[in-house]
């Protein structure tokens, strides 16, 4: 190891792409705040961060989808501004998106070549187009019929076709935005082989993935973003996993110490109390591309925290329990009785409520009033023929507006006009109105201000006090530690730890999330 292969390009002083102090604001949010980023030829550079860190905004700034408010983008040392992906591509920056942005209804050849197709007699020369695309594809060791329809192939192959399209334009820089999220192990290996080939030919590659294993396997350099800000740029070989995870997740300034003290004091009381009954138990719950066979049990009145990175299976598991997605196999029982959770309706019948992480698109119905949103699940459960009397509706709305401190002019105001935190509270009120036995909260505190956050945490704590089970998901480990009686750690779609929350530290959790194994000083397996 006199000279690691990565150091040669690293010392190259001339980056292909150099983004300096890039800032982008959206109404109400500073999506990127003076972030700098570089890409070197012949190097794979991974971009890391949790939800809302600004990864996709940075990529879209580079490819001209978003225009930047301030900052400079240089390509080969020259200042550039792109007004769209077509321009960026013409300049040599190609992008392969997570959802394959190709046309499944056209042939493979067209997907590789369209936009710069060979012509003859004023029309497309299909023969030449098929020949040329076959050459490019075989360069990636992909031997498929270029005349076949794209959607007759697997997602992995479509992903490689997208890369073939991207490199055919003589890309200097290639952006791969979560290319592996839907691939299996062998397919990932195939993709990495292609990436290495490209890297050796001098292309600068930006790689985004939630899987740390893959990041460490393929990248030479890492850049971490958090909440729209640059945490740092590191050489992969110099950064320990635990430090990486810590950089991604960060440490929240603890302004919620009171609450924490409160929780921990009662924590002990509960530990002393009689062992409570198991409410829900999942056995070998599986869904392809979401989670590997997984066991989970939640007691009555217990708050279970799900810790793990984005894509670790945390949301996927929650959606299965909430009946939002269907499991391929496995069994869930409530109070020991096997139950079917194939639709949200069935889950609600068993008093299991899932509050989605996508507040706007899957949570609130934004054109309806606060009152209508609060009673929606309760009303849906009763059926349309048994309307909740108007007086009762008003009472429900008024009591939740007060109890959750929802800031709204009145119950008739449209939810659309409320702030994010208040929308979240409306959504919580909807679920509380059906008096759930298990409340699944998927990132209920994301993107809301610190005051609302504290209120929601306090609420969760109070609910569990009254015997409700809670499955709590958050990217902020402090929050998970503060609220949970027990913590389940997921990593790469598998459960890696299930341990009671007594004296667990953020660092210990970070280790589990990063390494999948406990740090030597901690013990796991208290459960089972």
């Amino acid at each position: 190891m006199e000279e690691s292969p990565a150091t040669a390009p690293l010392e190259n002083p001339a980056p292909v792409v150099e983004m300096t102090d890039i800032s982008i604001s959206f109404p109400g949010v500073k999506a990127l705040d003076a972030v700098s980023f570089r890409m070197f030829p012949g190097e794979v550079h991974s971009l890391l961060g949790e939800n809302g860190a600004g990864k996709s905004t940075l990529i879209k700034a580079l490819t001209g989808v978003y225009s930047i408010d301030s900052g400079v983008i240089r390509l080969d040392g020259r200042k550039v501004t792109f007004s769209g992906p077509a321009q960026a591509q013409a300049a040599g920056i190609s992008t392969v998106y997570q959802e394959v942005n190709l046309l499944g209804n056209l042939t493979v050849a067209e997907n590789v070549m369209l936009g710069r197709e060979p012509r003859r007699f004023g029309g497309i020369n299909w023969r030449a187009m098929r020949k040329r695309s076959a050459e490019i594809l075989s360069g990636l060791h992909l031997n498929i019929d270029p005349g076949s329809l794209l959607n007759s192939h697997s997602l992995a192959i479509q992903q490689l076709v997208a890369i073939a399209r991207a490199i055919d334009v003589q890309a200097k820089a290639l952006i791969l935005d979560e290319p592996t999220s839907s691939l299996d192990t062998e397919e990932v290996a195939e993709l990495f082989r292609v990436i290495r080939t490209l890297k050796d030919s001098g292309v600068a590659i930006l790689f985004v993935s939630h899987f740390l294993e893959q990041v460490y396997e393929i990248s030479d350099r890492l850049t971490v973003l958090r909440n729209g800000q640059l945490v740092g740029e590191y050489l992969t070989e110099e950064l320990l996993r635990i430090d990486l995870v810590q950089a991604m997740i960060g440490k929240e300034l603890s302004v919620l110490d009171d609450l924490e003290a409160q929780v921990h004091s009662t924590e002990k009381d509960r530990a002393v109390g009689a062992k409570s009954r198991t409410f829900v138990e999942a056995r070998r719950l599986t869904r392809k591309g979401a989670i590997a066979p997984m066991d989970l049990s939640i007691d009555e009145g217990e708050v279970v925290g799900l810790a793990g990175l984005l894509g670790s299976g945390r949301t996927e598991l929650a959606r299965l329990l909430g009946g939002v997605d269907r499991a391929d196999s496995g069994q869930v029982s409530v109070h020991g009785e096997p139950v079917k959770l194939r639709t949200p309706r069935q889950a609600i019948k068993h008093r299991i409520a899932y509050s989605s992480e996508n507040r706007r698109s899957e949570g609130v119905v934004d054109e309806l009033s606060v009152r209508d949103n609060i009673i929606l699940a309760l009303q849906a459960d009763r059926g349309w023929l048994r309307p909740i009397p108007r007086k009762r509706q008003d009472e429900l709305a008024a009591s939740y507006i007060e109890a959750l401190n929802i800031k709204t002019p009145n119950a008739d105001a449209l939810v659309r006009n409320l702030s994010g935190g208040n929308q979240q509270k409306v959504l919580l009120a909807r679920w509380l109105a059906i008096a759930p036995r298990l409340l699944i909260l998927d990132e209920p505190t994301r993107g809301i201000d610190i005051g609302a956050k504290a209120e929601i945490q306090k609420l969760v704590y109070g609910l569990a006090e009254n015997g409700m089970s809670v499955l709590f998901i958050s990217a902020e480990l402090e929050e998970v530690l503060r609220l949970s009686n027990r913590i389940v750690v997921l990593r790469d779609r598998k459960k890696v730890a299930d341990l009671p929350n007594d004296g667990l530290s953020v660092d210990a959790l970070l280790t589990l999330i990063a390494e999948g194994a406990p740090a030597p000083s901690h013990t796991i397996g208290a459960e089972s």
Partner: protein, 354 residues
């Protein structure tokens, strides 16, 4: 005062009502006695306004059903054909009966027609909610085949019906008010009660605004969609019977021709977005009245009545362009530019004063 005005202008029914008032005004200017209502010797009401209310009833009845369908992000193109089928069934049953003037015969015929209409609506519902086929396409099938079915029933003839009880539906009076108008008002009121006194309206709106959020909240969209398509077809059947009775003949080709377009137009003018979601039955009522008044206006002003369609085209275009997000964005830019200019003006004045 200004606040009240602002709120009135901001109300979703403001522009439709202005349009209706303007149309009525044109009529009043063109025909001085336009608003007068006379009572004839039998105590029946007559006048242009009564005509509008009677002739607009079938469109209104269908538009009520269409409103609910559109609120679920759907559309029903087949209502015109269902009109024709209902008319054809009732007429041919009455014609075949030895006692066409018997109330029982007519009632039986009407009920048969309505049950059949309901069945057709369920078929639409099956395609949309059961098989998940796009609403435009699902209902296009019945729109195409329906006229053929109607002709099959009438055997390609225009069936003239001479039945006193049946004629009552289209040209009779109840307490001096035309039966069609009474039916329209009753159906409108019943629909409003059905959707707003139960939770149906709320759930329909929830599904139309955000299907996925509604699903996660446990709303059963499938049953709702079945119900609204069935209801829409049932109402189309009723409208078809009124139309047929009014013409005293079932014409498989022309009964309810283009009425789906009028109904959709009424819904859109009334402020219910074709994208689904929040709906306004009151808006639909105003929309249906506007369309019928427009037709009447074209007559009274002396424009060839056949030119009505050009006006309808103008109205559709205007409404769509007003609802367009592009227009909204352009207006917003224009407004903010005005505002800055105004501010600059104020600042300049302030500077000058100093």
């Amino acid at each position: 005062m200004k606040n009240v005005l602002n709120r009135a202008v901001g109300h979703r029914l403001f522009w439709p009502l202005v349009m209706l008032a303007a149309l009525l005004l044109i009529n009043v200017i063109a025909v001085p006695g336009f608003l007068s209502i006379t009572v004839n010797s039998e105590g029946h009401l007559f006048g242009s306004i009564i005509d509008i209310l009677r002739n607009g009833a079938p469109t209104l009845i269908i538009a009520v059903g269409m409103t609910l369908v559109i609120a679920t992000r759907g559309i029903d193109l087949s209502v015109g054909s269902v009109c024709a089928i209902a008319g054809a069934v009732a007429s041919s049953m009455i014609l075949a009966s030895p006692t066409p003037n018997n109330v029982g015969t007519v009632t039986g015929a009407l009920l048969t027609a309505l049950v059949l209409s309901l069945g057709l609506g369920l078929a639409n519902g099956l395609l949309v909610a059961g098989l998940g086929i796009q609403p435009i396409i699902s209902t296009l099938i019945l729109m195409t085949a329906g006229r053929g079915i109607a002709m099959l029933i009438t055997e390609g003839q225009i069936i003239t019906v001479n039945s006193v009880p049946f004629a009552f539906l289209g040209s009779g009076f109840i307490l001096g008010v035309p039966v069609a108008t009474v039916a329209g008002v009753l159906i409108f009121a019943l629909a409003a009660l059905l959707t707003r006194r139960t939770a149906m309206g709320l759930l329909i709106e929830a599904v139309g605004i955000n299907p996925e959020a509604s699903r996660q909240a446990g709303v059963r969209a499938r049953g709702l969609k079945f119900s609204v398509y069935a209801l829409c077809a049932l109402l189309a059947g009723i409208a078809g019977l009124i139309l047929t009775s009014n013409q005293t003949a079932a014409d498989a080709n022309n009964t309810g021709l283009f009425i789906e377009l009028d109904a959709i137009l009424a819904v859109v003018i009334g402020g219910t977005s074709l994208a689904g979601g929040r709906y306004s039955l009151a808006g639909t009522l105003v929309g249906a009245l506007i369309i019928q008044t427009l037709v009447t206006t074209v007559y009274t002003v002396g424009i060839p009545p056949i030119a009505t369609m050009v006006f309808k085209a103008a109205v559709v275009t205007a409404v769509c362009l007003l609802q367009s997000p592009t227009t909204a964005a352009a207006l917003e830019r224009w407004r903010s530019r005005l505002a800055t200019r105004h501010l600059q003006g104020v600042a300049a004045k302030a500077g000058a004063a100093r």
